[in-house]
Structure formats: C-alpha cells, structure tokens
Amino acid sequence: MQPFIESLPPEVDAKLQSAKPSEEQVLIQVSADFSDDQAYGEKWLVATKLRVLVVPADGAVEEIPLDAIQDVKTEELVGGGCLVVERKSGAPVYLHYSSSLIPKFAEVAQGIGQLSKGKPLELPTEMERTRCDKCGRLLPEKDSKCVACIKKWHTLIRIQSYVNPYRVQLTLVVVITVIGVLINLLPPLITERIIDDVLIPLSNFNLLVWLVAGLLGAYLFSWLSEIGHTALSCWLGFRAAEDIRAKLYRCLQFLPIRFYDKHKVGALISRMTNDADRLEDFIAFEVPYVISNALLLVGIFCLLLYKNWVLTLYVLLPVPPIVLGGIFMWNRLTRFWRLWSARWGRFSSHLNESITGIRLVKAFAQEDRESTVFDRHNDALRQVNVSGNRAWFVFYTITNFLMSFGAFFVWYFGGKQVLGQEFKLGELTAFISFLWMLYQPLRWFGDSYNFMLRAFAGAERIFEVMDAPSEPFDNPNARNIPKIDGRITFKDVMFGYDPGKPVLRDINLAVEPGEMIGLVGKSGVGKSTMVNLICRFYDVTHGTLQVDNEDVRNVRIEDLRSQIGIVLQEPFLFNRTIAENIRYGNPEASFDEVMRAAIAAEAHDFIVAKPDGYDTMVGERGNKLSGGEGQRIAIARAILHNPKILILDEATSSLDTATEKKIQAAISKLIEGRTTFAIAHRLSTLRNANRLVVLDEGKIEEIGTHAELMGRKGLFYNLVKTQKETSAVMAVGGGKEDPGSE
C-alpha cells in the first residue's frame, strides 16, 4: 500500500465522494491527529490533480482548487506542527498534527507544492513504520525492532545463549551436578538402614561398619563433586560475563552518533559497569546452581513420593501460597530493581558530569551545591534499595515460616503412622532428612530470587543497548572504495537532526578532488552539519551525497571514514603517549613516520623539548598539553592518517596569533592534494581556499573565491565588514570573544 493513501473510515469516505467528481483520482489521502488546533481527533487531507480537500470528522468539507494555492508550508509548533495551505486570496487553511506526524506532513506539503506547480508528484514510496507489524504496539524508534516482541525470547534464554559457546563445559557441569545430587541422596538412605536394620534390632555390627564406611564415602564424593562443580561453573560464568561485556562494548562502539545524542554518558557507563556486574554475579554464582538445585528438588520430591505419598502431600500444603506470593512479588521486585538501575544511572551520570567539570564547579565555588545534588541522588538510591530489600525480606521470612509448617505436619502425621506401625522409624527419620534437604534448594531459590531479579533488570538495560540499531557497517551491497579520489557532490540535499526541522536545504555543491572549500556563515547555519554528513555521522533526509560519484550510503563506512581526517577546534586526545596519539588512525606507522608527521605539523620541536619526548603521557583529554600543542598533535595525527578528504572545523580559532601562524603553516602542508573542507570564523584564514561557500539559514547563499565574493558585495562582503568592525571594537574593549563564534 502506498504510504500517502491511507484508508478512510466509511463516513469520511461518503463525505469525500460527494465533495469531488468520482472519476478524479486521489493522489494524497492522509489524516492528521488533531481535529482542530486544540483536541486530538482526525481530520483528513485529500489531494487530486485539481483540488485539495480538507475533510473533518464532523463539519463541512473545505475545498481549495489547486490553481488557487499560493504556497504550502509547514509551521513548527511546540509538540506538534501545522500545515498551512495559503490561497492566492482569502484565509489560509490550517491542519494541525502532533510531532509524530511531522515527517509525514513535511512530505505532504512538498507533494501538494509539486501538484500546485503542475510538476509530477514525487513522494517516497515507503514511510518508516511506527507500529510493530506483529503486536501493533508503538515502536520506540521508527523502523526498529519491537522490544516487546523480542521479549518473548525472554531474558533468561538470552542470558543462557551466552553460555552456549561453552557447551562442553556446561555438559560437564551438568554431569558432575547429577552425580553430586545422586550422592547427596545416599546419606539419608544409609541412616535409614542403620536405624531400621542395626539400631532397632540391636544386632548386625558388620553391616554397621559397611554402612558407616558407605556414609563416609558418600560425603567424600559429595565434597569432590562440589569442588569440581564450583570450579567449573565459576570459569563458565566469568567467561560468559566477559563475552557479554565485550559484546556490549562493541555495540557501544558501533552505535551511531544519533544514539549518543540521546543518551547520557554516565548512564551508559553505569550499564557497562553496574548492570554488567549484577549479571556477572548471577551467571557465575547463580546459574550453575539453578540446574543443580532444580535437579535436587525433583530427585528428592520423587523419593519422598516413593517413600510415603500421603506424607508428601502434607509437605506440599504450604507450596501453593508460596508460589502465589512469588508471582505477586515478581513484578513488584522487578520494578524496584529496574528503578534501582535507573537511579544508579542518574547517580553515575551526575558523578561523571561533576567530576569532569570539576574546574568549573570550583571556579564558581559550587562544591556545596554539587554535593547536595549528589546527596539527593545518593538518598534516592538508598530509598529504593531499602524499599526493595524490605519487600523481599518480608516475602522471604514468610516463605520460610510457611515452609517449616511442612515439618510440623510430617512429625505429627508421620509419628502417628509409626505408632500405628504403618511406617518404620528409620523411614521417618530418612523422610525428615529428605524434607530438610528439600527445603535447602527451595530456600536457595528464595534467596537467589532477589539476585535473579536484580540481574534481570540489569540484563534488560544491557540488551536494550545491544538491540539499538548500529551503524550499517555490514551492508552487504556497499561498494569497496579502498582509494577515494576525493570528489564530493551534494545533490538537492536536505537534512534535519529532527524530522521536519531541516537544518540544511537545497544544498547543491560539486567539489573536485584536491579542492579546498571554506565554509562560511553565522553560527547555526549548518556548516558543521555539512561536515557531519560528509563523515556520514548522519544520513541525508532527502537528496544524495556522493563520494566519487557513488551515493555515500552505498560506500563501505570503513572505507569512507578511513580516508577522512578531522581536526576539530578542541582536539580530543586519549590518555596515552604523544606517539600513540599521533599513531591513532594508523597504528602500524613506524616511529620515523610519526616523527615526520610531527615535523610537518610543527610539533616536533615542542615534543622533543619535553622530558619524555614522544613518550610523554598527554593526560586525560590531553590536559597536560597547551591548546596549541594539542592542536598540532591532532594535525600530526591527521597528516599521518593521510586522508583523501580533510575536515578542519575551527581548527585554529582558539589559538593566539603566533601559534596560529605556526599551525597555519602546518595546515597548508596538510591540505596539499586533499579535498579539504575548512570552517573558520576568522574569515581571513580562509583566504587560500579555492572556493568559499557562504551558508545562510541552511541554504547556500553564495559561492566563489575570496576576491569574487568581496567584489560581489553580498553576504560574505558584509560578514567580512562586520568582522573588521567588531575586531576594531574588540581591540578597544580589550578583546571580548568573537560575537559570532560557535
């Protein structure tokens, strides 16, 4: 079905049929989710090649002939939007919709625009899915997997899938466990024989010796199997947990930038550490016992039934209320532990922020306030911990109390049977031993219940990250371009970080290999966004972006990015040595190459002047270096990486003039033979660019060389003029920051 022909309810269809000639083909037929500007409801918009009709659920149809349309546009409101059909004369027609429909109506507005201008209608043939095909639930992300449907796999099965690669070890654990369980069943049976065949008849010493020896042997084997079991299961558990952590980290590395736009770093780190810890404990210390205890439970239960089924029924009396209680507590406790994980995420997020920003905290003397905020998070964590543990503890003690009721029944009814000589004394003691053995795994299940729920809450958060769609690195149809020439073409590119809010519009630009392009414009006009698109941190909403005449979406991301070099305003350096940082994009490079890159970047002199030279640790984010030093290392890194496409995003704006001169020299060596995109506020630094692209409100306003644009006396000329004036003012005022700086 076409996405822009939605099916109409019968009463709306009837209205529509009477409003237009029946032979007129419907081209667009969509519903808005507001009935007016205030209330949710439905209102339909239908377009044919002659007219646009707005059909409300109740009320009259409004008709606008296509030739009476002046313009169609969408207006952005808070939490929604509005389609405005402006007429050549008379009041416009409005159609309100929620934010969910912004992408749809952005297309519809374009479509009606095309129709009214007599152009052929070009609408996407597919819209992103918003609901799950299977269960009909709303999807958390368009076109993503439905988490609720994934859940049917169930968390436990997914956790178990991480144990699967170690099938041999797992089988071994199970075999040892079964042997251990069987051995554990022996001692009560032996004591039964001792009482009934030796102690009550008061004879048969030889048998006693054999039986005691058997008892000793049973305990010995039980101990050995316990050792084997624990050693193996620990190995297995930690291995599986390591795999989960590795997978999670890989997922985090390959998630698109968009994911990080939406999540806080601290909260993500907490998933990696805390939630993974919970899961690790569960797999290492709980999962193996699930098997052994379940087996023990079944084994003992069968034995009890075999020994005396009437007594066994008494033992089972407290079980139904415990099971019911368990089901009730499941949801309650799971919620508590989910809440705990979420609060821990917030706690860790605050911690991360305040420690990272410690200089600012101190500079504004806000230590006390930050501590207060911390206390609040800490307290919230305690509260949920207390509530969760209290709920669990009440449940646990009641369960224990109920279970001990079974023992009372057995002593009473079993004792009666012994007195009536229906049941032997030895059998009763064995029965009671088994009963306590039955309680042991039951109690264990009660104990681990809490851990299990905590681990499950953590696992859910981990799997949520793993299930987030990663960047399409493995697109099988992607083309290999191991050597890019560096030709970049924007064709009718439109892009917005949020659908319906375009940041870039109608971008058409062809850049030849080796050309240097300066991107110019006020802050927020989309310069950095263009660069983000070239790196494919985001995909274009409309149009195409081509690298060497190939749509960038069809090029292997790895090939593309390995040939792009970036130097940012604040270079990010890892807490490693200078040499390692320079080598980051090219780890195989020899020391000789590293040094030559540093020389080209004018960095060699200051590096060797340091006591540890190239082996100097740069500190976290490079904080042991000055801004200019860090910048030159970043340039050396880009030089060594030897990219075909180079991006300089405000690479020199935070430096003093002397350092900038040095870096300019370094940069001019760097750009030779590479397609370069440079963003700079100091317009004079772009003088060497082959062409300057002046952006305004997301559109390309002017393109030309420095001289051409100055001659044209347009936007660029004005920008240069304002900058000259402001720098004159700045010189007088003591050099405030550039007013337009991003």
Partner: protein, 186 residues
C-alpha cells in the same frame, strides 16, 4: 552558599565591601499601553507600538514555557528576533491580551495528562495510554526514569520518542491508580 566561613574578620570586611554590579542595559523602554496586537487580515498577526513602528508578521512565544508559563511573553518578528518581552501580560490592554492567549494556546500543543489508563515498562521502553485534556492518546517514552523532566518537585514533563509533550502539573492530584503506575516507573 557561604564562602566566607573560613575567612578572618579582616578578610570578611574586604569580601563584604560593596562591589559595583555589572551593568546590564535596561530593556527597551516601551510603554505596555502602547503595544497593540491585532489581526489584519484575520489570519495575519500584527503588532504596533503606538507612535513608533508596526510589524507585519509577528509570533508570540513564552520565554520559559515550563517555569514561567504566564509571564515573560516575547513578541518575535519575521526573522525570529525579539521585538519586546512583556514581564506581566496583565498590563496589556484587554484585546491584545485575548489575542496573546489565543496565540499561545495554538503554539503550545502540550497535553495535560489527567488519567493514566495503562502504563507498561519493558526493556527500558514505557508504553503509556492516557486521558489528556486533548483526548485519549497512546505514546512511547524511552528510558522514562532518565528522560522525564521534573519541572518542580511534583510537576512532571514527559517527551515521547517523537517529541510530543505531556505534562502532569501535579502528580499528587492524580487518582490513586494513576499515581501508583507513575510511582513504579519514575
């Protein structure tokens, strides 16, 4: 916060010396009575400052829609530049105030949650089915406990995965069941 607790008396005296406050330019002096909002033609909002100037295309926005919903209202011109900010709209004349209210109602499509019919939280995604002042609605929020914004101690703003806004002005006013549902996820 008290920065002076560890200082000697002499130092304290220094700290407490009057400091010239940083001068901020006063807002443009416009007499609120001179401001007039009107629609001409009826679908175009215009603003005139009597005896001064007139704007042909005007938008009305709240400076702080969450913390100051009924104060600090800004008038923007076609280029999104602020013409003037009124701290307290009650000083404006009645017609202007009425139009201002209408414009604000149209711009802010936030729904106020009255009852929560159902709320499920699975795998970090919460599914809401609510009754609002604008009618019934289903929506999805990712990571609700991380993404919900507490505007004040009892006032909550939820932004769903598409950017729709839902507000609970006071969670204590919700019925017991709705409150219980919220309490379990946030």
């Amino acid at each position: 916060m008290d920065n002076t607790k560890s200082l000697s008396d002499e130092d304290k005296a220094k700290v407490q010396q009057p400091v010239t406050p940083i001068q901020t330019p006063p807002p443009e002096c416009v007499n609120p009575k001179d401001i007039r909002l009107f629609r001409d033609p009826p679908w175009k909002l215009r603003l005139t400052i009597a005896g001064d100037r007139s704007y042909l295309m005007v938008r009305v926005v709240r400076a702080a829609p969450l913390s100051q919903p009924s104060r600090y209202i800004c008038f923007l011109d076609e280029k999104n530049e602020v013409i003037w900010t009124v701290e307290d709209p009650s000083v404006l004349d009645a017609d202007t105030r009425r139009i201002l209210e209408e414009e604000l109602d149209q711009r802010y499509m936030t729904a106020v949650i009255e009852v929560i019919n159902s709320l499920r939280n699975e795998f970090g995604v919460s599914y809401w089915d609510v009754q609002t002042n604008r009618g019934n609605r289903e929506f999805v929020v990712r990571n609700v406990s991380e993404s919900a914004q507490w505007v004040s101690a009892r006032r909550l703003l939820l932004i769903d995965v598409d950017g729709n806004r839902f507000e609970i002005p006071d969670i204590d006013v919700l019925d017991k069941r709705s409150f219980g549902l919220i309490d379990m996820v946030i």
